[in-house]
């Protein structure tokens, strides 16, 4: 079974995003960019399934600017076998990404596509579900456990108020939640090795998919700031304050 893992290059999760003064977006000039953390978990899960013998090949895909090649190299250094880079002139929305991925799936015929549940820039949480819808495949979103059993994937999902397990008929889509695994760091020898792993480069136009955006971001603003309040000196003072709020008796 082949596994396809889409990865996205995003602002590093340790960098505080700064809204541009002209309100057109978030400033991404000269800041550290990394693989979306949920996608790292997806790559790790695919590699583990290969190591367990449940998968034979891990193909990573990224859609975006040419620099997304760096993100794909990171995935190859972690242990993915081969990469496909699809360059686009402008940011592609989740629906467009899902349409491109559906084409990649048609070509690659994987048994499983594992995606991060959301990218930490747009926070859309859509692509996996959309891809599943376009392909008519089963979906196991927000996964904290994935087990392959013949033609079935048993996926434990993180849902409001607990966990839920679903059995998906393969081929299927899985999106990752935080507790699925802890991604490995690429070792130096593996980083060197990744440089010679194959990476195909294509453009969105090669797939004949209309990825023109449907949404326009008309304005980006800083969220309303909270004012720091008062510091109290003792538990007794805190209790008084809580009483005033009607919280304590």
């Amino acid at each position: 079974m082949k596994i396809v893992v889409p990865v996205k290059r995003v602002l590093d999760y340790n960098v505080k995003p700064r809204v541009k003064a002209d309100g057109t977006g978030v400033d991404l000039a000269n800041v550290k960019m990394s693989m979306n953390p949920f996608d790292e978990i997806a790559v790790e899960e695919a590699i583990r399934l290969k190591e367990k013998g449940a998968a034979t090949e891990v193909v990573v895909v990224s859609i975006g600017e040419p620099k997304a090649a760096d993100t794909l190299r990171t995935a190859l250094a972690m242990g993915a076998d081969r990469a496909v880079l699809i360059t686009a002139d402008q940011p592609v929305e989740p629906l467009g990404v899902a349409k491109l991925l559906a084409k990649v799936v048609e070509e690659e015929q994987p048994g499983l596509v594992i995606l991060g549940k959301q990218a930490i820039d747009g926070d859309n949480n859509q692509t996996g579900q959309m891809l599943a819808g376009l392909l008519g495949w089963a979906q196991g979103t927000f996964a904290s456990k994935v087990e392959i059993d013949g033609e079935t994937a048993n996926v434990t999902r993180e849902v409001d108020g607990g966990l839920e397990t679903v059995a998906l008929t393969l081929p299927a889509i899985v999106t990752t939640d935080l507790r699925l695994n802890e991604p490995r760091y690429a070792s130096l020898p593996n980083i060197m090795k990744a440089k010679s792993k194959p990476m195909a480069t294509k453009t969105a136009a090669d797939y004949g998919v209309d990825v023109a955006p449907r949404l326009t971001i008309t304005h980006v603003a800083e969220p309303g700031k909270r004012q720091a309040g008062v510091k109290v000196g003792s538990v007794d003072e805190l209790v008084e304050k809580l009483k005033a709020l009607g919280v304590a008796k």
Partner: protein, 309 residues
Amino acid sequence: MKTLVWVEHDGGSVKDATLATVTAAAKLGEVHLIVAGQGVGDVAQAAAKIAGVGKVHVADDAAYANALAENVAPLIAELMGHHDAFLAPSTTTGKNIAPRVAALIDVMQISDILSVEGPDSFTRPIYAGNAIATVKTRDTKLVLTVRTTAFEKAAAEGGSGTVEAVAATGDAAKSRFVAAEKAESARPELTSAKIIVSGGRALGSEEQFHALIDPLADKLGAAVGASRAAVDAGYAPNDYQVGQTGKIVAPEVYVAVGISGAIQHLAGMKDSKVIVAINKDEDAPIFQVADIGLVGDLFTVVPELTDKV
């Protein structure tokens, strides 16, 4: 505009997340509902009483028993033939289903809306709530998920909607519900609690987390939450997690114990009415958003507080 709202329910009653979603839908136009499930007659009757609701579509079929997206999305896609907007709350159920519906009807979903600015314009958080984007769509139909803490709840009583059965679209036979492990708790649910006591990594261990946080929460009648750091360290289960990657909450009072206030945590709780912070580091970022702060060692402060409230 004719809207269709996903009714979040537990098989017996309508969940509060539905009520906030109804408020968002009412800003766009007529509010119709879809109740999908098995044996959901009572839910449909209750949903019809929500203030401002028109038609309540009910799809009662075994295929919808566990809200599997593979079965529910085609049903909603069909109903979208005669509705202009589909709205679901940003719950794990809503987030699972809505994008699949959007793909089926070729619409770019707008996730987690905070406000309705116009018939085609909405605000939504990006970058973990560090920025708020105003987006305008050129799609003719809308698929939206709604951040429920950003909208007032519609009144659960007072409406007089009409209940109408809709034909089931069948079982896609792609997936099967196996089991649910619901976290059993006598405490209020995190996302609807009036008071929340949350613990962070400073608690040091799972035992200490429960020994300190649980009694204070119980004394206050509060729900228990945790920071991602505490969840990652194994002190608390993941469904306790408050933050951008966990639950978004906005209670009347949020008590943060031993939580430094990482961006991703603040994104999940900064809309709380009153934030109380207890931390031994007086420079912790949590104090920049807290209304009431107490600098002190939580291992002495929290038991004393539990004793005195």
